[in-house]
């Protein structure tokens, strides 16, 4: 079953007096539980594609369906709700909330959902923090953690709401190779354990060995799938 379907996706940016064609017509689909990597050089349109799939950016043309829901039909509130309940984000620069500690950062999406009981939240947060191996750092603020630890917190936060899809934009770009490997392993383990669809972008060939499926993108177009 396809969790994401993308058809004829185009995205143009105005840049001064010229128009940058970031995506020139992308068609692809992602099956539930996939561990998919979008590969391409810098400026190829990977981040733009992930942003549109993650409903934080709008396409110039084309359609994106998530679980058969046409995104363009939703208003801002519904799209925000969709992001909260169905999509998890892992950012290249971790993007943790600096004033919240590890526990609170992970707990954040669950509190936004407003329908979870305290015990349920506590149990889920603890399980994810344990899963990313940060139980001893629960009270630490992001500034007190290493880059790898911060990305683990980001992974836990992305997964805590039990989303259908986790989008990771160059999740290892700011990490050393050893930490990158551990992060990718962790993502893969969680993908298998939680049956969550993972889509991550990278331009690092080393990362590709962990991918279940690879979509190659260049100049805003898909140039190959493996």
């Amino acid at each position: 079953m396809n969790v994401i379907e993308v058809q004829g996706l185009k995205k143009d940016y105005p840049l001064g007096k010229t128009i940058v064609h970031a995506l020139r017509g992308i068609d692809f689909s992602v099956e539930e539980g996939a561990f998919l990597s979008i590969v391409g050089p810098s400026g190829s349109g990977k981040t733009t594609l992930l942003n549109i799939i993650g409903c934080i950016d709008h396409p110039t043309a084309g359609r994106v369906r998530i679980h058969d829901q046409e995104i363009s039909e939703l208003n801002d509130k519904q799209i925000t709700d969709l992001r909260l309940h169905r999509i998890g984000f892992i950012f290249q620069s971790f993007n943790l909330i600096p004033v919240l500690n590890v526990w609170e950062n992970v707990e954040f999406p669950l509190l936004l959902m407003k329908d979870k009981r305290k015990e349920e939240i506590a149990a889920r947060v603890e399980r994810l923090i344990r899963a990313v191996g940060l139980l001893d750092y629960m009270a630490h603020k992001p500034a007190e953690l290493s880059g790898g630890q911060r990305q683990r917190v980001a992974i836990a936060r992305a997964l805590v709401g039990n989303p259908d899809i986790v989008l990771a934009d160059e999740p290892t770009a700011n990490l050393d190779s050893e930490t990158s490997e551990s992060i990718l392993k962790l993502m893969r383990e969680l993908n298998e354990a939680e049956r969550t669809t993972f889509i991550f972008s990278t331009h690092d060939p080393e990362v590709l060995k962990y991918a279940g499926k690879i979509v190659k993108i260049k100049d805003g177009m898909i140039v190959g799938q493996e």
């Binding site: 942003n51 993650g54 934080i56 950016d57 801002d76 509130k77 925000t80 709700d81 992001r83 909260l84 309940h85 984000f89 950012f91 620069s93 993007n95 909330i97 600096p98 004033v99 919240l100 609170e104 954040f108 999406p109 509190l111 936004l112 959902m113 936060r157 709401g161």
Partner: protein
């Protein structure tokens, strides 16, 4: 703690220096507001409680007559009884006569204008003056002494001005109720420092002695000051009740002409009243024109027949007075009338202007009920006194008295005034002061809040990526907006609370200083100290207003933050 609240609080604490600086500014503004507000309340409190309530009373039953500036209630006992019967004992503290008159005093080679004020104090209340004066020389106990001719307490300022010491004599010339000038010698029995500057020119003397000086009879009184336990709550309420209860009855005095009983009834000396009476009364003998004139006297046909009186005859009418035995007055029959109304009985019908002075001076033992208020003739007949309509404020009161003084009638007037109407100008002063303070502080706060807006804009710029992150994770626009508004509210509220606390400390400190001022400042001093009175409700109102202003000010930058595109915000780099 909710997520929005927690985020707001943590963000507030995160930028300590910047928020501390802003907080100090807001707190300082609030402190000024508290101090200024308490000062204006304190000042008015001093003026009301130390000056107005003593000079004016919480509630005053004021009696006047003709164009005299003297206040005069002819039957004190009767009015006091009505007051006591209609004000609950638990609300009524005391009823005093407002005895005071300005005069010219001469001491040892020096002269000055003084106000002689009568304060009736029993010997068991001899510590009364300690509340208002600090005794410098002499003895307050001599106030009750009969060894001295008119013993008076003099302020140190006045003693200096008149160059007098204790036991020295002050000669005084003072107008009397009769219009004559009274000359008297007063003996200084105490010299004291007054607690406020208004008392500097006052010479205090026992009430009965001042009455004697001013020419009041023992049963007469100047205006009556009623002191209430809680004037703010009850003064207007009781004033309205007393106004109702002091409605006068028609003048009807039972008396005798020779051995025959009769009733003296007075009619009003204005055209409308006379017209109404002419419809009910037919002149059967005598001079109709003279009969309706200012000194007109008419005898009913029944009474004339009984006494064998004809027009032009003179006769003596006598009645029992309340304090002076039998009083007899000679009248001439101007006309004999017939009437099918009650006036047709043994009635002597007299123009009010002929009789007011007599009745004022020789109060009848009793006024009889003659007509009910709903009787058509009621408005044509003169009443014992004229009850003035209630005034809303001091301007209206002044206008009312001005108009009444133009009226040449000899009928006495009664008026019921509370200090809130009589001294409404002073109360307005408080409102004006508060308004001025509030305006100044609002300007201050607007300037501060411009700082808040700028800080918020800076904060939002610094946190743009965070905003992008929380929007991407799934926080709704409304919650993002609320995070920033609440952060501003926290800052404002905490600063205001600190400002109020600091304001209270400043008030205590300023209130502890003693000023030796005899100038304009002394008006608002109590025992040489500035008086501050905290007004919690007013401060709470200002506090809420400032929170609302902060909320409105923060709203627009916060909305801007909430409307940021998540993807643009995530791309933002400082």
């Amino acid at each position: 703690m909710g997520l929005v609240t927690r985020l707001s609080w943590r963000n507030l604490v995160r930028q300590k220096k910047r928020n501390l600086f802003l907080g100090i500014c807001i707190g300082f503004g609030m402190m000024i507001l508290v101090v200024a507000n308490s000062f204006s309340h304190g000042m008015v409190d001093v003026l009301i409680n130390e000056v107005v309530s003593y000079a004016f009373g919480h509630l005053v039953v004021d009696g006047t007559q003709g164009n005299s500036y003297f206040t005069m209630i002819r039957d004190k006992e009767r009015i006091v009884k009505i007051i006591e019967e209609n004000i609950k004992p638990e609300d009524l503290l005391e009823i005093n006569e407002n005895l005071g008159m300005m005069g010219r005093a001469v001491g040892n080679g020096e002269a000055d204008n003084v106000v002689v004020v009568g304060v009736t104090i029993e010997e068991d209340e001899k510590y009364f003056f300690n509340d208002f004066f600090t005794l410098l020389d002499g003895n307050f106990d001599d106030y009750f002494s009969t060894d001295y001719e008119y013993p008076v307490i003099v302020s140190s300022a006045m003693a200096k001005s008149l160059n007098v010491k204790v036991h020295d004599t002050i000669k005084i010339r003072i107008p009397m109720v009769t219009g004559q000038i009274q000359a008297a010698k007063l003996t200084v029995i105490a010299i004291a420092d007054a607690s406020n500057t208004f008392m500097n020119m006052v010479l205090f003397m026992q009430g009965y002695r001042v009455k004697e000086l001013l020419g009041y009879k023992p049963w007469e009184s100047a205006s009556l000051q009623v002191t209430l336990r809680d004037p703010l709550k009850t003064a207007k309420y009781y004033a309205d009740i007393l106004h109702e209860k002091l409605k006068p009855g028609v003048i009807c005095v039972a008396g005798k002409i020779g051995r025959a009983d009769c009733q003296l009834v007075a009619f009003k000396h204005h055209d409308q009243a006379k017209e109404a009476l002419r419809a009910e009364v037919t002149i059967v003998a005598g001079d109709p024109e003279k009969a309706w004139e200012k000194r007109g006297v008419m005898v009913s046909k029944a009474l004339a027949q009984k006494l064998g009186l004809k027009a032009g005859d003179k006769f003596n009418y006598s009645y029992q007075t309340k304090f002076r035995g039998i009083y007899e007055e000679e009248f001439t029959v101007d006309a004999i009338y017939d009437s099918r109304t009650k006036l047709g009985a043994d009635v002597l019908l007299v123009n009010e202007e002929r009789i007011h002075d007599i009745l004022n001076t020789y109060l009848p033992a009793e006024f009889q009920e003659f007509l009910a208020e709903d009787d058509p003739l009621y408005t044509a007949l003169a009443t014992e006194w004229k009850l003035l309509r209630r005034s809303k404020d001091s301007q209206e009161l002044e206008k009312l008295y001005k108009n009444e003084r133009k009226n040449k009638s000899t009928q006495s007037r009664l008026n019921i005034i509370t200090m809130y109407e009589g001294a409404s100008d002073i109360l307005k002063l408080e409102a004006v002061l508060n308004l001025l303070t509030m305006n100044a502080v609002l300007i201050l706060f607007f300037i501060i809040l411009i700082g808040v807006v700028n800080t918020l804009r800076m904060t939002i710029k610094e946190r743009t990526r965070e905003i992008g992150t929380i929007r991407a994770i799934g926080m709704q626009k409304r919650d993002v907006r609320n995070v920033f508004i609440m952060e501003t509210l926290f800052l404002t509220a905490l600063s205001c609370i600190a400002g109020v606390t600091l304001g209270i400390v400043v008030i205590k400190v300023l209130g502890a200083f003693t000023f030796n001022s005899t100038g304009a400042l002394s008006i608002i001093l109590k025992d040489g100290r500035l008086v501050f009175k905290l007004a919690p409700l007013s401060i709470l109102g200002n506090f809420l207003l400032i929170l609302v202003i902060a909320c409105v000010t923060a709203y627009f930058p916060a909305r801007h933050a909430a409307n940021l595109s998540a993807v643009e915000a995530l791309r933002h780099y400082e």
